[in-house]
């Protein structure tokens, strides 16, 4: 079998020591890259050379390398996770690129996602949005029978599509407003569609939106850049659902909560 032609690439990589210092682009050569290598494997080999030369390796986030954990992600030539749709950068292969191409690698840029180092940024703002309401409260004990709660197929499918969000942050990174509406919308929709999510759905919508605003993300302008960049193709309908949930919750009768005085 004919050997596959390897690639030589020029990488312009954002190098930044920490959140306090200014960063800048550095140029590196990636030589003899196999078209079958993943993008992160290509960076691994560039890093090995840097380490051997006694230089600091390029820092980037990653974990599963299977496209399921949401750890990886940076901009390649202006696109979150690179040019291929519905793909995380760990699942992006070098055959997408051409020999001699120059690739500009930048971290996610958003005020709410400060750079930790090089291509790695701090996405704990997402964790705080989840903490504000992205959960359901259940009693512990034996697990319930899987089919004891009837759920319509339509809702189950739609909830599943929302639940595929891996919270990588590509939506925020791609949005000109650095809006977290797609992420927050997916989380609110996912639980609002299921019976288990009904009890807390009003507080969830109110608290998650208010946390999203407090973290300093921008608002949604319906540009659709988020959904186009999303490796899981989360739909803009999730943002519509969030808005609807938020409107309903804002004007819903607040329940009287007993116990304030009793406790």
């Amino acid at each position: 079998m004919e050997a596959k032609k390897t690639l030589n690439l020029t990488l312009k990589v954002w190098r930044q020591k920490n959140a306090q210092t200014e960063g800048a682009f550095e140029t590196y050569e990636a030589k003899d890259v196999s078209p079958d290598a993943s993008f992160l494997e290509m960076l691994d080999s560039v890093n090995e050379i840097l380490i051997k030369k006694g230089e600091l390796p390029i820092v980037f986030d990653h974990d599963c390398r299977e496209g399921i954990c949401g750890s990886c992600g940076f901009m390649i030539n202006g696109n979150a996770h690179g040019p291929q749709k519905s793909t995380t950068v760990c699942q992006l292969h070098m055959r997408q690129f051409e020999d001699g191409q120059e690739l500009v690698l930048e971290p996610w840029r958003a005020s709410a996602f400060p750079v930790i180092k090089d291509l790695m940024c701090d996405r704990s703002a997402f964790d705080r949005i989840i903490k504000a309401g992205g959960y359901i409260s259940v009693n512990t004990g034996g697990a319930r029978d899987a089919n004891s709660i009837p759920i319509s197929k339509v809702n189950a499918d739609e909830a599943f599509l929302s639940a595929t969000c891996i919270a990588c942050g590509a939506c925020v990174a791609s949005c000109k407003n650095a809006s977290a509406a797609l992420f927050t919308g997916a989380k609110i929709s996912h639980l609002a569609l299921l019976p288990q999510g009904q009890v807390e759905k009003d507080e969830r919508a109110l608290n998650m939106v208010s946390q999203m605003d407090a973290e300093g993300f921008g608002a949604c302008t319906t540009t659709g850049a988020c959904s186009a960049a999303c490796p899981k193709e989360i739909s803009l309908t999730n943002i519509a659902k969030m808005n609807r949930e938020y409107l309903r919750a804002s004007f819903a009768q607040k329940e009287e909560v007993a116990g304030g005085d009793l406790a």
Binding site: A178, T237, A240
Partner: protein
């Protein structure tokens, strides 16, 4: 309630609502003004009918003014928040299959010019030259004459055309964005809504464009 109005989601509901008010206005305003292509008499009678009913006139003006102020206020505060959301710029921005539409990237600039247009438009026409004419024994303002005068000024016609093209983009994006802001976007509707928004925008803008172009190119002074 206050919490709702302060949130980004709540302010988008307001933007959408006030945008819809103006979308309704520009459509009817365009349709009524097509009478300029019919005759001076029909046009002046139409204008006279509008200003004759004071309650309706002041009511409509109040709603439009309030809507515009709210729309612009939300546009400014949201745009500022959006700018703060991204404190450092990318060397390269999304492109290819992952690129967003052009119109959606420049809503603020389009809007600002539309605002300038609205103000100038009121100065030239509503508060412009006052001529009188008599139609069927009724004395009324000869608005037709003002329109014919203004639309023979090349610079004014160019400015008009430029602003209308900006309005085309503002509406083509706004008219579908509003469905998402209002939370009534469903998976099945996505493609159709974008088309409907474009059809609406093209109808409004083509209608408006036909008026100065007709006067400038065909109608004698």
């Amino acid at each position: 309630m206050l919490e709702f109005l302060k949130s980004t989601v709540g302010r988008k509901y307001l933007m959408g609502l006030t945008g819809l008010v103006w979308m309704g206005f520009v459509l009817t305003h365009m349709a009524g003004n097509m009478l300029i292509l019919v005759s001076a008499k029909a046009y002046n009678q139409y204008g006279h009918a509008i200003v004759s009913n004071k309650i309706l006139l002041y009511g409509a003006e109040a709603v439009l003014l309030l809507a515009l102020i709210t729309h612009v206020y939300c546009a400014i505060t949201l745009t500022l928040k959006n700018r703060r959301g991204r404190d450092s710029r990318y060397a390269v921005t999304p492109n290819g299959e992952k690129a967003p539409s052009r119109a959606s990237q420049f809503m603020g600039i389009q809007g600002s010019l539309i605002l300038a247009f609205i103000i100038l438009h009121l100065i030239t026409f509503k508060y412009g030259n006052y001529y009188e004419t008599t139609v069927d024994g009724v004395v009324m303002r000869d608005l037709h004459r003002v329109i014919i005068e203004v639309f023979h000024i090349p610079v004014y016609v160019i400015w008009y055309v430029v602003c209308l093209i900006l309005l085309l983009f503002h509406l083509s994006h706004g008219a579908h964005s509003v469905f998402q802001s209002f939370g009534i976007l469903e998976r099945k509707m996505q493609k159709g809504l974008k088309k409907i928004a474009w059809v609406y925008a093209v109808i409004v803008v083509a209608g408006f464009l036909s008026q100065p172009l007709y006067v400038f190119l065909i109608h004698k002074k």
